[in-house]
């Protein structure tokens, strides 16, 4: 049976460009579309607006640091735009850094320095509030330290401020045991596939399936050119021939589907157990699909038109599953989607 695998490897070696393109196409798609995936991931972060009315060193520092926070998408805008955005639900909340922010903090006060604008629908803005509150606390405490040292010794306010600030790096010296809302923390939660990930995997499945169907044309050609008859006389039986070609089809199809899917999972930072579980399920579904495809092809007499019918079936399976219009469990794509 492996003779047929080496035969096809030999044939593909003769057209390395085409063979590599077919093999790497889904992987290339994954890698090239990664920036899009990243953008999509960013868009799932909580959108909040920060209005900097003070435009001082302290306010820009807060803005800069909050922008670095995970799971937050910080947008700078004017006060009126921010309030409109919150009302329309385009942003979760807005934080207005009032004029005189730096002076107030330098005096060691934090009251009424920031206005928090939110609506009744705002739910996730607490993460932003927490991040901003932490930065506020840091600057305020540093300023307090600067003021105290300036009054009680010859140390300048700036030196005292910088000295106190070092206790915040890399992490605050004293801190509450808050569970940080970061990508690491999220990984602990059950990982689920986003709809764009699901459609991408369905497309890879379609690609691997269609390439496998097109491979069946080899069997049609073998029959038409008399190679199958020659094999029948040479090997006395066609069992090895058909078993060998089925093996090649399965290996090829899995080789196209699995690396691309796993690459997609890795780029999406899916946890390893999730990848393993999904890969195993995908192998089962693709294997079953290929077995059905094979028997369908053999049962219909290995004709050229059978290949066309099978391609139409594969396209139909993808379209009906993606469109989610009834009879979903009848299609291989929907088996893939409905992982138990």
């Amino acid at each position: 049976m492996l003779t047929y695998l080496s035969l096809h490897l030999n044939k593909w070696k003769k057209r390395p460009g085409l063979a590599l393109f077919i093999l790497l196409f889904p992987l290339l798609v994954t890698i090239l579309s990664y920036p899009f995936f990243q953008k999509a991931a960013e868009e799932t972060a909580v959108p909040v607006a920060i209005v900097d009315e003070d435009e001082s060193l302290y306010s820009t520092t807060v803005l800069k640091r909050v922008k670095e926070a995970d799971r937050l998408r910080v947008i700078s805008m004017s006060s009126s735009e921010a309030e409109k955005g919150v009302r329309k639900g385009e942003i979760e909340a807005a934080f207005i850094i009032k004029k005189g922010f730096q002076d107030t903090l330098q005096n060691g006060e934090i009251e009424e320095t920031i206005t928090w604008v939110r609506s009744n629908e705002s739910t996730l803005d607490v993460f932003a509030k927490e991040a901003i509150g932490a930065e506020l606390m840091r600057i305020s405490l540093n300023a307090k330290a600067g003021n105290t040292l300036e009054q009680s010794s010859s140390v300048s306010f700036e030196k005292g401020f910088q000295y106190a600030d070092q206790f915040w790096e890399p992490d605050p010296l004293f801190q509450m045991d808050f569970k940080k809302r970061s990508s690491e923390a999220l990984a602990q939660e059950p990982y689920t596939l986003a709809s764009w990930q699901m459609v991408t995997i369905e497309l890879y499945f379609l690609y691997a399936w269609v390439v496998a169907i097109l491979f069946l044309k080899t069997l049609v050609a073998d029959q038409r050119t008399g190679r199958l008859q020659r094999i029948m006389i040479t090997q006395h039986t066609t069992f090895s021939y058909f078993a060998g070609h089925f093996l090649v089809m399965v290996v090829m199809s899995l080789g196209l589907f699995l690396p691309a899917t796993i690459a997609l999972f890795f780029l999406s930072t899916a946890p390893l157990p999730f990848i393993a579980e999904w890969s195993a399920w995908a192998v089962v579904v693709l294997g079953t699909t290929l077995v059905i495809t094979w028997f369908f092809f053999m049962g219909l007499g290995r004709k050229r038109w059978t290949v066309i019918v099978l391609i139409v079936l594969a396209l139909g399976s993808f379209t009906l599953t993606a469109a989610d219009i009834g009879l979903t469990l009848a299609w291989p794509h929907s088996w893939l989607v409905h992982k138990p």
Binding site: T3, N10, K14, T225, Q229, R230, I233, Q235
Partner: protein, 241 residues
């Protein structure tokens, strides 16, 4: 010895071969002639066990084909009319692949001799799809004969081949026959037929209408032409006898 007893073949409600009986003797070299569509290739496929008769029995050394199928296929070398090769492979890769498929291995000395005689070493590393028709025919024959068969079936082995290549092929087949192998081959070329045949089989209207030596064919020629005078293609073929 291969025996056909009251064999007929129907395909898609059409009679391809009408009932006939005949015997192919061991060690004979039979040239098969006849018009297109007379059933020559189907007959050869029946001998090769690639087709099953719709009625009647084909037997090999007294044993029906159904029971002796593995033995029959082990003894038979078949060269189809089509170039049944993998076009992307080189001659070397092609022979290597088909050798691997042989269940009981091959005689390397026999293959080396065949490669030398057919001068395939000249195109050893060339891809099949880049060879001329003549070279392709030679490789096609070589692959069909890899197992050193005792019964060689060839369907128009020299069709479209230049004279030099034809001489190589005829020389090789004659040598195989002289070594005691049974040869059955279809051809439209009288030069080739005379070089190789010690017996002729004439096909007309879906069955063999003559089997015998060249001398007997000459004797029967007029009768055959008279009996099948409607079949202009057969009449034209027999004129060259």
């Amino acid at each position: 010895m291969i025996q056909f007893h009251d064999v007929s073949k129907r395909y898609k409600r059409k009679n391809i071969l009408n009932p006939f009986s005949l015997t192919v003797k061991e060690g004979s070299s039979v040239g098969i002639i006849g018009p297109n569509g007379a059933g020559k290739s189907t007959f050869l496929k029946l001998v090769a066990s690639l087709e099953r008769p719709s009625k009647g029995t084909v037997s090999f050394s007294g044993e029906p084909y159904e029971k002796a199928i593995r033995r029959v296929r082990a003894e038979i070398g078949y060269v189809p009319q089509e170039i049944a090769l993998y076009e992307e492979l080189t001659v070397k890769e092609q022979l290597s692949f088909w050798k691997k498929l042989e269940p009981v291995g091959v005689e390397e000395a026999f293959i080396d001799e065949m490669v030398q005689t057919l001068r395939l070493d000249e195109v050893w590393d060339q891809r099949i799809d880049r060879l001329s028709g003549g070279w392709k025919r030679k490789v096609n024959i070589c692959v069909g004969m890899l197992k050193n068969p005792s019964i060689c079936l060839l369907d128009e082995p020299t069709a479209g081949v230049d004279l030099a290549a034809k001489e190589d092929i005829i020389g090789w087949l004659r040598k195989l026959h002289q070594e005691g192998r049974t040869l059955l081959y279809i051809s439209h070329d009288w030069y080739e037929l005379r070089q190789l045949s010690d017996e002729y089989m004439v096909f007309a209207s879906g069955k063999p209408v003559f089997q015998g030596s060249e001398r007997r064919l000459l004797e029967e020629k007029a009768n055959l032409m008279n009996s099948y005078k409607e079949d202009h293609e057969l009449t034209r073929i027999l004129q060259y006898v």
